[in-house]
Symmetry: C2
Subunit: 305 residues, 2 copies
Amino acid sequence: MEKVSVLAPATVANMVCGFDILGFALEEPNDSMTVRIIKERKIEIINRDDFDLPTVAKKNVAGVALLAMLEKIDENIGFEIETTKKIKPGSGIGSSAASAAGAVVAANHLLDKRFTELDLIEFAMSGEELASGSKHADNVAPCVLGGVTLVRSNDPLDVIKLDFPELFVTIVHPQIEVKTSDAREILKQQILLKNAIRQWGNIAGLVAGLMKKDYELISRSLEDRIIEPTRSILIPKFDQIKTESKQAGALGGGISGSGPSIFMLSQTEETAQKVEGVMRQNYQNIELDFNTYVTKINSNGVTIV
Amino acid sequence: MEKVSVLAPATVANMVCGFDILGFALEEPNDSMTVRIIKERKIEIINRDDFDLPTVAKKNVAGVALLAMLEKIDENIGFEIETTKKIKPGSGIGSSAASAAGAVVAANHLLDKRFTELDLIEFAMSGEELASGSKHADNVAPCVLGGVTLVRSNDPLDVIKLDFPELFVTIVHPQIEVKTSDAREILKQQILLKNAIRQWGNIAGLVAGLMKKDYELISRSLEDRIIEPTRSILIPKFDQIKTESKQAGALGGGISGSGPSIFMLSQTEETAQKVEGVMRQNYQNIELDFNTYVTKINSNGVTIV
């Protein structure tokens, strides 16, 4: 096989109380990528969209991920990637992760799957490092593996897939810019032990709720007293959207990644659509441009098409 | 029915990374208690052991728990409790929790189970407040419910039973005194966010490992970078016992409650016995008196005999 096309899904990291450790993949939106093997040790990048992303491999997220893979390959080969991005860079739903993870999963398919999924996550993390300055796995892990993933540890990398019940996801992306680096800088480096205890109770509750498929427990556990109070001030109407979404029946939700997108989880599609209405109404009222998605948690991760 | 006898098990709180939220019940040791209904609104206490615990209800852990229950009872009744404690007070394996939980479970049995398990945990928490100054549920919850329990939140109380695989437990109780209040005082009230993130990754991993019955994951997740480094200095030979126990095959372990007991989890009884040998050897070497137990996680909690 000389070329393969994949769909790489958007992902939500920092699942409320699961800051830096929990993430999940979405059914929509997806980036489309086609990867070909070439007979030269280099990465060629072709962008078929309007995002004006770099085409020099070392400056491109997918390029850097493939270069990390190429370091572990002895043969005289390289890759050409042709990308049509649908996941807007900077939206907070794993745009860079989709580029990095999609590229390495596709390339591995062309190499008869010589690398493990954990290897692929590690390669993709190099792309994340270029995008955000930190080598984190909480978007690339669910992008590669699908479903809900736990990154127990970054070093050594330890990723666990968690069982979960059917969950509908409503996303709103307000068209403002929140840089990941800024969102990181405003976080306090020290936190109160009592807040940390509350947080780990919620994380344990969320993991147990997902695995038991207990929607009530999931809902009670979707609480973040550490990160959200600081970061949410960067996102217009955050508190109001969250409160009204829960009134509309959402189980809960919060900031997607480092924002500015907000996500809400619901048990039914009907509720997820009501939540979309809440989001639309709030941003229309203040005349802020936005996109919304009503979708589900995607069990498969990057898929070959 | 006018009287009932129960066995109330020892419990381990603060399950390594699960500080203040995770706990489990042991098959051994147990306190024996017999509770009778009396025709007067008072609590009478008879101690059939040598621990010299108070017999005035308001100063006795079981007495306070029963007084809390009595507040929710309209009839003109009270209880007489006769206790033979086997769980040494101050050992760090839930001695006060066994007194409080045993008393209220027995009394509830005599009242045809008019109270829920969550009610009983709340009553028993009043006893814990007398014993340690804080109204915590991480020992009384597993004592009442059995198995491994998560206290997601103390206020409002939210307790979840977690599935778990067969686990053997080795306990050593070095005969030194560590007051719960002292063990609390030495904790730092502020912690580093990066350590908290590591901790919540481990807690999520431990909950997932228990529910998936994945011994490897349980073992990797039994890590505490926040509480243990501070508290373990109060316990002689802690680091050496932990290291050698893991070398002997233990999955991991740590301080039981606020100490001084140390617990280790193993997949087989044979390993749990090797671990007991490690513990004995270490304390014999420094001529420190100690007790050991090789037991299992108890699925039932307080049992009627």
